[in-house]
Symmetry: C2
Subunit: 372 residues, 2 copies
Amino acid sequence: MASATRFLHINEPLPFKRGGILSSYSLAYETWGELNTDASNAVLILTGLSPSAHAASGPVDPSPGWWEPMVGPGKPIDSDHFYIICLNSLGSCKGSTGPASNNPATGRAFRLDFPELSIEDIAAAAHELVRHLGINQLCTMVGPSMGGMSALAYLQQNPQGARHFLTISSAPDSEPFSIAFRSLQRELIVTDPAFNGGTYDDVNWPVKGMRMARKLGMLSYRSAAEWRTRFGRREQDYFSTELFGMNYEVESYLEAAARRFVHSFDPCCYLYLSRSMDWFNLVDGYVDLAAALAGIALASANVIAVETDILFPAHQQQAIADALAGNGVRTHFTELASLKGHDAFLVDYEFFIPIVEGYFKQIREEDLPARS
Amino acid sequence: MASATRFLHINEPLPFKRGGILSSYSLAYETWGELNTDASNAVLILTGLSPSAHAASGPVDPSPGWWEPMVGPGKPIDSDHFYIICLNSLGSCKGSTGPASNNPATGRAFRLDFPELSIEDIAAAAHELVRHLGINQLCTMVGPSMGGMSALAYLQQNPQGARHFLTISSAPDSEPFSIAFRSLQRELIVTDPAFNGGTYDDVNWPVKGMRMARKLGMLSYRSAAEWRTRFGRREQDYFSTELFGMNYEVESYLEAAARRFVHSFDPCCYLYLSRSMDWFNLVDGYVDLAAALAGIALASANVIAVETDILFPAHQQQAIADALAGNGVRTHFTELASLKGHDAFLVDYEFFIPIVEGYFKQIREEDLPARS
């Protein structure tokens, strides 16, 4: 199957927030729809930790994307009206330059030689992409999960960067409970003997570390309420009980999810992206969140929270919405009663589609006619 | 320092719920106060996973116990009026027979040869202790956390077993979210190469497995709300950052807690007790919880839940209270706004003392005068 992913190769240095520099780098992205003549209909989607740029199917690559029901012609983020860009984050292993990429200085993968990555670096790279695409100002910035952090950093760096902003299950900083979850995941990976200081290869792969990190991740991505109704106390017979567990369906669900994940993501990329979220604090250097967001020239914002999200809890979304509204941005805030926790935006479309569809319809009616 | 722990050695076989049998076994317990002449003032405390029988200080052992502010003369569970017994659970490593105990058949520790332990076995052993102490009926059964499960099983096995019942942060069964947490903890221990099929020794100890299991446990014992106020985003400088983490105080808090735990509990005992909670389902064989509790001849019950408990969530306490009340037991239910999560009963005494004190005062006034 053909890939619709395009690559922007940038031969200018990218200095990182915490020091270190990339002398050149690549950004992997996909697009849907057409950029209008005054480049005023661009929507940029920044992603969570693991997704690629393939948010949805298209003519070149008809395979379903990670946000298939949301992006495309006639869909909530409608490519009949908007030019939609989805960027694979800097630091990822899905096409953009990251720790798994070749280090031109050594001819080998960067691994732990990759500069310390911050959310702000992901945002800066995203802005380079937008600039190279000839877009002066985004119509709408979209950021779920880690992508919302990157989007907030982008807007802080570029106060005129977008006219509208949709953020879902994100946060202006990481709270200690989320840090604890991610810190344990990283520790599980780096203490796997096969990680071996980042020198793993296809044969010696930190399978156990990645498997356990993913299982732990699932505890933070979903919710007790979902699992209560989905699994209850049903027993399982898929896997052996050799691990002094695996009696219940919830255990085999985690095991299956973990096995799927182990080889689908590079361990070092996971570590770098995970740590960048812990470090993120939009308020750093400001008196409060409103001050950190002051000057961001948005015409509107739409902030969506999920009641059962324990990783990016709803009150963090509320804080973003309150700060934007306090700064005079017309802001719509919704706390959804979905049981699907942090992952809700990836699985509970019945909750999200009406809001996202309504928001982009409003943008289409109010914003686009005035321009193209 | 002298130990106040007493041992009951029982030379009768104890058949286990899931098969297997102990030909003889020991139970470690401590007591406070005096049993009255008609043995009507006994209070039995069954513990959570890790505590010993040393709930509180006393004349023989003045060292503080795990529930020091709660048990003793003039305290909420008042040894001036009650004969208080705290039992170390069967299966533990704090004096009662468990997987770390000597297997008389082999002369070595049981380890994985210990019969599969259920909560119901812990309850059956507890009843043997009560019987050997010459107590026909407990005045009050007390069960926090896993101890509440054991207490429920005890009352199901002995419907006339107690006149009053205090349960805190417990559950009539394990929900999948709690199972998932414990299953991962067990997997971390048994997949530590040093666990080696249960053949670890003092030199080859599953340090990493126990350390990571404890860190994961802390995520389930406390709450995001507590850590938000307690740690926020404060940075740490106690431990090195070699583990691709350990930048924040919450991380060093977890590391310190984990290091304290590693050698304080036997890995096999941990595995057996942990699994017994997953297996527990009081409703098994009954149409519902009310039916499972029907016939239990309590004069009163006091059920305490903590709003931020994610391991034994408040709605499970509510279910116990509703079922007891529906069966005609005079039941008092409280959901506490403590931020301390599942561990609240061990640390947030200001919330618990008034309720426990009031309940035992009521028992003293209404129940004891009619008897001794």
